[in-house]
Each structure stands twice: as C-alpha cells, then as structure tokens.
C-alpha cells in the first residue's frame, strides 16, 4: 500500500503549509467521512429505532451497520457488546459510575497508573467521596513505562478493578495490556483499557485481549467528534445497572415499574449522535483500506525517524524512552517553555500541543511543569518531521540557544 498519497484524502491538507502533529489530541478527517455526514443529513436523515417509515428504517440499518463494522474491527464476540457514547470520557464515566454503584464499597481499591489521562482518573475519583474507595497508582519508571510488575506490586485483596491506558499520550509507552489482563483475571479482578490512543494506531482484538472494558474515542480515529465507543463483555452489560435513563433504553414503562431494553439499547438513552455513528463507518473503512499493519509500519518508521532527528538536536530532550512506543514525541527544550515553542512553531504552520496533555500526575512525577508534544497520524511524512526540526531550530535561534 502506497501511503504517499494518503494526505490527498484529507481536504485540510489542501493548505500546503500545514504540518499537523496533534493527532493524539484529535485526528483530521478524510473526505469520505465528511461527505458521509453531509450526505446523511442531506438525503437520508431520520432518527433511528423509533419510527416505521422508510427513512427511519434505512437510518437504523446504517446506524447498526456501523456497530457491526466496529465489532468486526475490534473482533468483539457480539455486536451487542458495542455501546455508542458521546466520547471515550463518557464511556469511562459509564463504567466507573455503574460498576461503582453496584460493586464498590468503603475500603475497596481501584488501581490506575501514573500515566493515565485525566479522563481515566477523574471519573473514578468521584467514587472516593461517594463510596469511600481508595485509588492506587501503579508507578511509571524512568523510561515512561508501566510494567506488569509495577501493576502487580499495587494489587491487594481489596483491588476491585484495574483501569489502564493502552498507549500513553505523553511518553508513547504501549502497555502490556494482555499480560496485565491475565494477571488481573488470575486474581478475579476485571480490567478496563483506555484505548483512546491505542485504537487509532494499534491492532485491536478484544477476544484475544480478553479485557472486560475497552474505550475508544472516534474523533482520534479519523472519525467525527461527539462519538465514543464502549466495548464491554456481555456479562458486564447484563449485570451492571443502566447509566442514563430516557427514551430508547427501556422495554416497558409503568407508573410503578420500569424494565430496561435489550443490549446494547439499555446503555443508549435518548437520541444518539446518529450522523456521527453513520459516518464513523467510513473511518473504519478508511483504516481497513490501508490495513492496520501498514498503519503501524508507517507510524513506527516515522516515529523512529523523528526520535533520531530530535535526539541529534542539541538541547532537545525527549520525554520517556519506552521499548514499546507509539507515534508520540514529547519533548522539552532547555531554556524555552513548551508554550513558547508551540507558539513559534505555529508561525511556521507546524501544529503541536504544549502543556500537560491532561496528565498532570504524570508531569508531576516526571518533574516537568509542561512538555511539547508532536503526535503522528497516518497522513504524516518525513518532510513533516524535517519541518518540525527546522522550526525547532528557528525557535532556538529566537531564544539565542545553540
């Protein structure tokens, strides 16, 4: 598969000056996804699952079709294990809230890692005051990784759930989530994987992985905003209570009792992000057309090229050096604050992110207030990395650094 033309599928790159290195924040959208949203609203729009007219039936079929595409893409056992949410954040909140409600009590422990994004910490934090649970953090090592051993160290007889990221959005570390899941299951502990960074860049196989929950952010996966996915094993979706109440999630409503709908409807209350779900099918098709192995190969090559170039650049310090690393290059420059770097790079059309990337705990652990981050996507090229490097040099010049 030749990836050199892939940029052409993304209309935003008609602006030739743009070097987009912020895909870990959100990815750009291919024309096919944009067109599908437009087509759906222009010609096919209807709410789903409610009415019996032709438009509604077609829309429902399209909506459910995406569910099947997602199921196949991540190799889930059943399409009913795929729940659409408004984002990965909501997916984690759903699990934290319902699991906490049903299973957690005072003194129980939730095990996270120091790498976690705020969206895989804050939802659990609420359970501290609500349920009196404790939150433990598996430690990150100096290379920016979290090992199985580090997880094992923090597991106690009170650990009730483990929630870890698949791929760190700061250090790029890919966690050994299969081994973590095996370890957890051997002790009867369920596992949630925050797949926000994993899903767009790595091969997904839920049955092989065997995790209990896996959350996906669609807008980071060349899809629309306002949409996330919760994969959960059927037994959990059956056992856990509903998250939000409303239309669409019920079976029968009486003055004195309510019964809930079948899976996955039980977790999809209210009118969903219909057009986004329909369009997300195109994101899956786009990724399938390229092939995940080609995605991985391309991004690994680029990341290694970027690492090499930045390592050679004086005064640039890469953050983290994990053995298994995704396409994220976080760095600092001695003497220049990351926000100054980002503003100066932006002048050259090089879009990066600066700050704590929603990982304040990790930054505190690493002892840096903020970092600059160049994160890659399928559309990036070696020229993009070269332009990043020359803009960094310009930045150093402005600040009189060698």
């Amino acid at each position: 598969m030749n990836l050199s033309n892939i940029k052409k599928e993304f209309p935003i790159f008609k602006n030739k000056n743009l070097v987009y290195l912020d895909s870990a924040n959100s990815s750009q959208k291919p024309q096919s996804v944009i067109d599908r949203i437009n087509d759906f609203y222009s010609n096919e729009f209807s709410n789903v699952g409610r009415s019996v007219h032709a438009l509604s039936i077609a829309a429902t079929n399209n909506y459910e079709n995406t569910r099947i595409s997602v199921q196949k893409y991540i190799n889930a056992k059943s399409k009913n294990e795929i729940v659409f949410t408004k984002g990965a954040t909501e997916a984690i909140n759903l699990v934290a809230n319902t699991f906490g409600q049903k299973y957690l009590k005072k003194g129980d422990e939730i095990l996270l890692t120091e790498l976690e994004h705020h969206s895989n910490y804050v939802p659990w934090h609420y359970l501290r005051s609500l349920k009196g649970v404790k939150i433990e953090f598996a430690e990150v090592n100096e290379d920016g990784e979290v090992s199985v051993e580090s997880i094992a160290k923090k597991i106690t007889s009170n650990t009730k759930i483990i929630a870890v990221t698949h791929l760190s959005n700061v250090t790029g570390a890919i966690l050994p989530i299969k081994e973590i899941t095996e370890l957890a299951h051997s002790k009867g502990i369920p596992v949630l994987i925050d797949g926000c960074q994993g899903a767009p860049h790595l091969k997904l196989d839920m049955q092989d992985l065997d995790c209990d929950f896996y959350t996906i952010s669609c807008h980071k996966m060349y899809g629309p905003t306002g949409l996330g996915i919760l994969y959960a094993k059927k037994k959990w979706l059956e056992e856990l209570p509903p998250y939000q109440g409303g239309g669409g999630m019920i079976k029968e409503v009486k003055k004195d009792s309510i019964s809930y709908g079948d899976l996955p409807n039980k977790y999809e209350a209210g009118t969903m992000a219909t057009a986004q779900v329909v369009a997300f099918d195109q994101s899956i098709k786009f990724l399938e057309k390229i092939g995940i192995n080609n995605v991985i190969k391309h991004e690994q090559e680029l990341m290694e090229y970027g690492q090499e170039i930045l390592k050679k650049n004086n005064s640039v310090k890469l953050i983290g050096n994990p053995k298994e690393k995704g396409a994220v290059l976080s760095f600092t420059i001695e003497g220049i604050h990351p926000h100054d770097i980002a503003t100066i790079l932006d002048e050259d059309g090089v879009a990066i992110r600066a700050g704590h990337h929603c990982c304040q705990i990790l930054h505190e652990t690493l002892g840096v207030a903020a970092t600059a981050r160049a994160s890659l996507g399928i559309y990036n090229t070696k020229e993009d990395i070269d332009r990043l490097n020359s803009s960094i040099n310009k930045c150093k010049k402005i600040f009189n650094l060698k």
């Binding site: 926000h339 100054d340 100066i344 207030a369 903020a370 402005i398």
Partner: protein, 156 residues
C-alpha cells in the same frame, strides 16, 4: 502578525533574566497565582510602607517567556508607586491586553507605557493572554489581601 512582534527583544531578555525574582524580606502582603493549562506559577511578595507605597516587590515562580517577562516588567514598574496608582495601572494594563488599543493611565510615564506596550503582541494570541495577565491578577490579589489562589481558569 510576525512572531517577532510577540517575542520582542525586551520580552526575551526579561524572560531570560527576570528582575525581582526572589522573596522580599519582611514582606507584608503576598498572593499566589496559577495557570493550570500551562503549569505557570507565580507568587508575589509586597512590602508596603505606612503610606501604602510599594517599597519592595518581588516574585517567585516559573513559566513561559511571556509570563516571566510580564511579571518581571510589572514588578520593576510598580516599585515605588502607591497602592491606588498601582491598581489603576493594573486595570489599564488588563484593559489594553483584552480590548483597548492603548494605555490611558496618567500614572504611567512615557517610557513605562512603551515598555508595557511590548506585551501587547499577545493580543493576537488568545491562548497566550493568560500568560501575560497572570502576575497582574495576582498582584491585585496581594494588594487586596485575597487569600484564595488566583486561577486563570476562573477569571473572565
């Protein structure tokens, strides 16, 4: 807008060698400020005399070139001025950064006005305005003895 207008020599110089970066001995007022988005921190120390004149001012903290330069220039500029004058200058500065094309305060000398206008480049960068204004909000907090830390995410 050229990046050089934002990162003028004077800003780079103050950013690199901030003035008054220390803790004033015998300060009688202080306040902390924090910009959670950038991780910028500032702690301002004031020593006011009995006539409410700023006898000494200093700051501790870390942040980007804009925030460090802004705190450096500010502390230099308000030293020796009266509390009420200073409050008026802060208002004028914040007004200029937010909306006004120029500084209007009668309490500023021409060279002081020129120096402050070097920070006006930040107006073109909405995400960076908080970097320039953090220390100024914190100064008001110190003068008014407000104990709660200034947080740029809770300001207008």
């Amino acid at each position: 807008m050229n990046i050089k207008e934002l990162y003028q020599e004077i800003i780079l110089e103050h950013g690199k060698n901030p003035r008054n970066l220390k803790k004033t001995d015998n300060f009688n007022k202080d306040a902390k400020g924090h910009n959670p988005l950038c991780g910028d921190n500032v702690h301002i120390y004031l020593k006011l005399n009995e006539k409410n004149k700023i006898e000494d001012i200093s700051f501790e903290g870390s942040g980007c070139a804009i925030s460090m330069a802004s705190a450096s220039i500010m502390t230099d500029l308000v030293k020796g001025k009266e509390e009420n004058e200073v409050k008026e200058i802060v208002d004028d500065f914040l007004g200029m950064i937010k909306i006004n094309p120029e500084l209007k305060s009668k309490n500023l000398k021409d060279d002081e006005r020129t120096k402050l206008m070097c920070l006006s480049g930040v107006k073109q960068y909405p995400m960076r305005v908080k970097c320039a204004t953090l220390s100024w909000h914190t100064l008001i907090s110190a003068i008014d003895n407000i104990q709660e830390e200034i947080n740029t995410e809770r300001l207008d």
